[in-house]
Every structure is written in structure tokens, then in C-alpha cells.
Symmetry: C2
Subunit: 112 residues, 2 copies
DNA sequence: TGACATACATAGTAATTCTATGTATAATAA
DNA sequence: TTATTATACATAGAATTACTATGTATGTCA
């Protein structure tokens, strides 16, 4: 296809970070919760994506100590990342709309 | 993720064939038309997928001569393929619903 | 007759996500 | 007190999916 599939992980991560700064493990838990268990992202998927987003300037990382005493690595959405999110959201709307259009058009033939 | 992404091509092809028997080239053209140019599937993507669907018994192929004199290879959706389509459609609904849920939940935080 | 659309096909490459594994700390249960 | 589980980050390697590039061949139209 034209758009290298969906780049699914990038859209979801950027969207999560548009609400609040989060650390990696938290994103995995939140994604499971908000998607009602549909998404169970693996560390092996998320961390490389986060590093890529940071390298590209979409997110910025900073360390912060948790109440537990552990140091977590939080990610913050940059202005550039916010723009990328809008682009990805539009791409998702176009993509999902197109899939639905194809599904409907085929179903329609059965009824015609 | 759990579900190996979406298997996008399989869903679209099965859906196309649920309306009528089609040959490969026709599927590419129809997909472009029905998706309003969003999908521009390549031969290199489609033909291996069709061969896989045939091997798995989801579609059956037969030769038929076109009015032009050329022989085309038509694909017909089998009962097994119809069942697979239903499964894929449900998977798509779950997936797209989950993406939208995550997008909405993040956007909601900005307004809260 | 040369260019273009039609029609099918495969090899090799690129992108994405997974599995598996490793390290380390905090909390909780036995 | 010690073993297990949850938290937290990370990377290497494999699998999957789709793409690019290429090849073959026929019909149509300028």
C-alpha cells in the first residue's frame, strides 16, 4: 500500500502523550485499559518506538523519581510531536474510512 | 500487539470477493475506486496473498476467457472464505474501535 | 509500430512488531 | 527472611507484511 500500513504504534503513543506526560510502562498499562484489553503492547515494541520518536524530536524524555523511590523515564510531547499526531490522526481517519467504504461497497452488492 | 496488526490485505480481498468473483487486476482497480484512491495495492502485494488464500481454501481459482480473447484468472470465495471474512470483519471492528477509544480518551483529558 | 493498458508472477528488500532475553528495584506473600 | 511478582527499562533476533523492482506476454490505440 501507499502508506506503509498504519504506523499504529506511533499514533497510539503520540495520542497517549497528548493527554499527559507518561513513562513507558505506564503507556503499556494505559493502552490496555483504554482499549479494553484489545491492545497489549510489548516492551519490545514500545521502547524502540519511543527511542525513535525521541530521535526525531517528537517527544522529549526526562527522569523523575517516583514516590516509591524508583527513577522513571517520562516522555513529553513536543510541538513537533503534536503536529505529527494531527497528521497521523488524519491518516487514520482516511485509512479507516477507506476500509469501511470497501466493506460497505462489497456488502452492498449482496443486497442489490 | 496480540493480533499481528490487521492483515489488512486479506480482509479487503475477501470482502471484494464476497460481492462477486473477480480477477487480480480487477481487484486492484476496484480497491482503488471504492476507497477513493486511498488504497493502491501493488501486484507484488496482491498475487502472493491470493495464492496464500487459495492454498488455505478461502478462495478457488478458475480460468475464464475475456471478451477480448485474453484468459483471466478469476477467484471465487468459498464457504470457508466467507467464514474467514466474518472473523476478519469482527477483528477489524474491534481494532478500529479500540484505536478510536484510545484517541478519544486522550483527547478527553485535554478538555477535562 | 511504438506506446500504453491489461494481466499474471516472483525475487529481494524494507518496515513493523513480535519473542526471547537480560538487568535491576520495590512490594508482597509464604 | 526469602521467594515471587510487579514494576521499569533495554536490546537482539525472528517473523510477518507489504513494497520495489523486474520479467513475461497480450490486446488496443495513435
Amino acid at each position: 500500500m501507499k502508506k506503509k500500513s498504519i504506523d499504529h504504534t506511533k499514533l497510539l503513543v503520540l495520542s497517549l502523550l497528548s493527554g499527559e506526560d507518561m513513562y513507558g510502562y505506564q503507556m503499556i498499562v494505559e493502552l490496555g485499559r483504554r482499549s479494553n484489553r484489545t491492545f497489549e503492547m510489548k516492551e519490545g515494541t514500545l521502547y524502540p518506538v519511543l527511542h525513535g520518536l525521541e530521535k526525531d524530536g517528537y517527544v522529549e524524555a526526562y527522569q523523575q523519581e517516583a514516590p516509591t523511590g524508583r527513577v522513571r523515564k517520562y516522555y513529553h510531547l513536543t510541538r513537533k510531536g503534536g503536529a505529527a499526531l494531527k497528521t497521523e490522526e488524519k491518516a487514520w481517519e482516511a485509512y479507516s474510512g477507506a476500509v469501511n467504504a470497501v466493506l460497505r461497497s462489497s456488502a452492498g452488492l449482496n443486497l442489490a
